[in-house]
Symmetry: C2
Subunit: 322 residues, 2 copies
């Protein structure tokens, strides 16, 4: 960093930097408050940077790192109804990187691009004091869905299960043990191999019945608050974003499933609102794609996110402080 | 980095990684051997990552860093006849970054986007052990020009002056003094404020008389060898890629202007070939845009790059070793 006078030093967080960018560049198309940039010509753009020192927990292998760098962008695009088509990749690798490691990362990336028929059209390779994969994706959309479209009376849904990544990250970052082996496997798999329901998401948006949607990777509490805020509505939660089976497993660890699901993050799943009379169509679609969806709440007049006992759900989430 | 058995450890260079990517993903449209990815629908894509620890010499301020991150991509796009339209930016900042520093970087970026009327449509902000700006740009093209189009009989041109960045980088990285103050100022300006001739480049390509072109940022020797190799031709050099005035200034420092111009890099200028009978049109265009261009050689039958005394110009350039 350049030398700056002490009086000018003020540390920033990620959201303040985003706000600076939005103001300075008068950003159009909601790209920095919404998940993707929709262009008028039917194409939509998204970029997401994965950084080893901040995004990669201990024990994640090269294949999983490559896979995750693409999964994160696929989650964002599909949550907005965008079918991925083209990709560019900018890499930075650290000194001493090996053939083996790079090729594992590329294999992980390829697993995702082959599954969704995405063409790599360009990229860049660099050297840095960190490992960085910047994944740029371009796709086609038929319908636009913003975070701001939720209406009074809508049902709130998530693609599940939530809570697992919180438990997995608690184990990896805070060394908090997981007693049940089945839960441990599921929790680690949720962290190491995020699997957004890409095809379901796109088809769901294209029904035209989804009124708002957002990718949940910054945490469910943060995501719900974003939707409520941008839509000028209140969200009241009345259901768990996970199967009963997983809820019981989490409880058997002496943990609170609601807390784990609200204040986690890194799920890469879709959170959305839908007109109640059309919810059956989304449920049918979920069955077709073998995807679990859970009705977790209701959109009401007002503002903020609340549990149905009146407790406020705070807007906390994954935000970098610098 | 993950643990790997010692027998598997083999360090890589940038070109080997690019080759791995090309093979694994069967990359179309020459995006990783050419400067941009041309799509059939008239749009072209380019991404370029700037990394502080490797791309930013001492003394470069935030404004100049931001400016350079965009200039590098503008050079690539315009060299290929692509008019820039849309941009995305992925940032990684280091812990302790200040408001002042971030806003200087953004101001530098804005200086370039305003000058060329480019719209920021999206981005990402991250934290890392390095400062990273990944600049993604999308633009429109009328004509495609590859590195592979040079023909026997064509003239070889550059947009000048070459040599200055070599001297500037020698001063900054190797503490080699520069006696003449005028040269010192020009050399440091060339390093700190690369200024690709965007409008000239695009108009030049759109004349239809440029047979091949490439951005010179990896060094002139490397660039000429790439064009010769991909076009299956020989290039023979017979002129200096700089004005007489600068040539004399460089000589007065006891340096070799030819060596400095061939084995430098970071010029962000266009190297191109043109049919000799059409060269006058390019010269007229250069005058209109107040851009200096220099005829430096001839395309012949054969292979490789040579001085007109028969000395071979080696394919050396800026390539990262990991």
């Amino acid at each position: 960093m350049d030398f700056v006078k002490l009086a000018e030093v003020r540390l920033l967080n990620e959201l303040e930097i985003i706000e600076m960018i939005r103001k300075m560049f008068e950003v159009r198309n909601h790209p920095l408050t919404d998940d993707v940039a929709y262009l008028a010509n039917g194409w939509a753009y998204k970029v997401d940077m994965l950084v080893k020192s901040t995004d990669i927990p201990e024990g994640m292998n090269g294949f999983q790192i490559g896979r995750k760098s693409v999964a994160a962008v696929l989650s964002d695009l599909s949550t907005k109804g965008v079918k991925p088509k083209l990709m560019m990749l900018s890499f930075a690798f650290q000194a001493g990187i090996t053939n083996e490691y790079v090729s594992e990362i590329l294999r992980g990336i390829k697993e995702m691009t082959e599954r969704y028929n995405i063409t790599l059209i360009g990229g860049d390779v660099n050297k840095a004091n960190d490992t960085v994969i910047d994944c740029i994706m371009v796709g086609r959309y038929k319908m636009r869905v913003l975070r701001s479209g939720a209406h009074e009376g809508d049902d709130v849904y998530v693609v599940g299960d939530f809570g697992l990544t919180t438990i997995g990250l608690d184990y990896l970052l805070n060394k908090k043990p997981i007693v049940n082996d089945k839960l441990k496997n599921m929790a680690l798999k949720a962290v190491y191999e995020p699997a957004p329901s890409v095809n379901f998401n796109i088809e769901a948006i294209n029904t035209g019945y989804v009124t708002s949607s957002m990718d949940s990777s910054d945490g469910l509490a943060y995501t719900l608050n974003e939707i409520a805020q941008q839509s000028n509505v209140k969200i009241v939660l009345n259901g768990y974003p996970m199967s009963n089976y997983i809820k019981k497993l989490i409880e058997s660890e002496g943990r609170d499933p609601l807390n784990d699901s609200l204040y986690g993050g890194e799920e890469y799943q879709m959170v959305f609102t839908v007109k109640p009379e059309k919810a059956y169509i989304l449920n049918k679609l979920a069955k077709k794609h073998k995807v679990k969806i859970f009705k977790i709440g209701k959109v009401e007049k007002g503002s903020g996110v609340y549990l149905n006992n009146g407790v406020k759900v705070e807007k906390r989430g994954w935000v970098f402080n610098f």
